[in-house]
Symmetry: C2
Subunit: 328 residues, 2 copies
């Protein structure tokens, strides 16, 4: 039986979900809900209704899993618990510090309604978290490193765009190759924030703007840039649109650890992602975990879960027998 | 409460388990069982009994998890089902083609006895399998690649040692850097066996042996070497003992896949291991999965499981709350 998937919120993530569902044989997209006027939302798949979110309650029996595609700052903390009272839900909540609170809110709502919820799916949190947990469990005596990039940081790009005189801007987070090499050597270096990443900005100025002022504002911006070596490039709008409209990202999770009676052996575990499209990879992960969540629900589980609670076999369209025969 | 761990079979794997248990705060080693005369087996930890396997039934109520450290060719297919009738057990069975049969045998024994069993733990099968399953579930439209090495292949080293005139030998499996680069580019190349790995042999000849004969026997050996580019180095026994007594290994699991309505985006997921000691890393994984198996048993689960069935959070000494707050 095909699992009925609906999307709430149709931006980059919603579009990614639409693509990811198409790649499955066991799921179908049944509706897209939006807070905007549905007439203004054009989706990629023919014959799928686009509806205002005010209609969503009528769909209570027609949706197996609602994928909530919203921002972590204000959308998801409100929407996910609210929707978990009516639907099985999944989201990509990625404000690491607020995960415990979000988890508690969603868990209470989902348990009360007898629904299942899965939060913080994607790659960080998500696949990177899984790799941290596996590597820590296997090598308890060791050290974790996470590097991000090269890729676009939406939050940092937004911060640059808020500076007076900036018309448009994109910020790339770049891992420092020497730091990566030092970590991979197994020497367990202590690395400062500055030693791990650099920041690279491409900025389009408004006419008559003061480049020196903008550059200084960026480089000294507290929390965002002041602890990093930052390079600022001023470019034309044409160049910006041509070369800096992508959403590539990626990163590295590395744990090095010691084993042996006298810690005589060193091991390096490395997981890395190189992604052409951050939202499409994120949502590809969401769809796999949506499948798993529905299987956990079928077993009678309710409440909130994260990627750390999911038996990996549940993510796959293949059966346990097939996985043991072909992928184990 | 400390989980009581016992080891059956005290070679490289048994020694690794002994080290790995020491790194935990929630497990203790209570006994080592051997098929040899216990008086000839010296373990590294003081005050732990070393006993002949004939005594093991007396320990039925004193062991939470029996770690079976034996070879996959003849030991484990017999020992794991036999012991699963009396103990919760875990093994490192690594003959991929025979996993379904081994699983069925162990599952029947464990279910009948109300015990839990976990088979094929380690890195391949094990962590590599997990990464194949995760990556396939997220990127269903893609291609898998596994590279091994640089590391010692025990089976190939044994095969070389069986050739007339060979006193000692070690065979390293080496991934071809150009093949790795091609895979990482996302171009999804079709690679032959020869294009993916080379084989490197270090051989000590017996006095008067014919080097040309040995080299030819190696390079033309069916299934083991004939499909590979093989380099044979003849070295002295001194050099062999000095430089080739380690058990380092490692490898790479890479999946590249496409997303987007028109497959316009490519993603590369890479997991790699660089291990100073293959048996110590393998057993470090075994101990983490032993913890998980005991938690699954406490939930009422019996029968045989693999790494694919384990919620990752169960591997950790930390609670779900701690993991969500610090590692998610």
């Amino acid at each position: 039986m095909m699992a009925k998937i609906a999307i709430l919120g149709y931006g980059n993530l919603g579009r990614g979900i639409e693509c990811a569902v198409k790649k499955t044989k066991d799921m179908e997209l049944v509706a897209v809900f939006t807070r905007r006027d549905p007439a203004t939302v054009k989706i990629q798949t023919p014959n799928i209704p686009v509806l205002n979110v005010s209609e969503i309650e009528k769909w209570a029996d027609k949706i197996d899993m609602l994928v909530i595609c919203g921002g972590s700052a204000t959308d998801l903390p409100k929407m996910t618990p609210e929707m978990a009272a009516k639907f099985n839900v999944i989201d990509t909540f990625d404000t690491h510090a607020n995960i415990p609170t979000h988890f508690a809110n969603v868990d209470a709502a989902a348990k009360a309604a007898g629904k299942i919820a899965m939060i913080s799916v994607g790659w960080d949190p998500g696949m990177f978290s899984l790799n941290r947990v596996y590597a820590n469990a296997i090598l308890p005596d060791g050290k974790d490193y996470t590097f991000w990039g090269k890729g676009v940081s939406q939050g940092h790009s937004d911060a640059v765009r808020r500076i007076k005189g900036v018309k448009n801007a994109k910020q790339y987070t770049c891992p420092v190759p020497e730091a990566l090499d030092a970590v991979r050597s197994g020497s367990m270096p202590e690395l400062t924030t500055r030693q791990k990443h650099t920041r690279l900005c491409y900025v389009v100025l408004e006419e008559g703007a003061d480049a020196a002022y903008v550059e200084n504002e960026i480089k000294t911006m507290k929390n965002y840039f002041d602890e990093y070596d930052t390079t600022v490039n001023f470019i034309s709008e044409e160049e910006f649109n041509k070369n800096h409209s992508g959403l590539a990202h990626g990163g590295f999770v590395i744990r090095t650890g010691k084993t042996g009676m006298n810690n005589e052996h060193t091991h390096v575990i490395e997981y890395s992602l190189k992604l052409d499209s951050n939202p499409e990879f994120t949502t590809a992960a969401v769809i796999a975990f949506a499948r798993a969540a529905l299987r956990m629900k079928a077993e009678g589980k309710t409440g909130c879960f994260t990627v750390l609670d999911v038996p990996p076999a549940y993510l796959s369209e293949q059966s346990g027998e097939e996985l043991r025969a072909h992928l184990l």
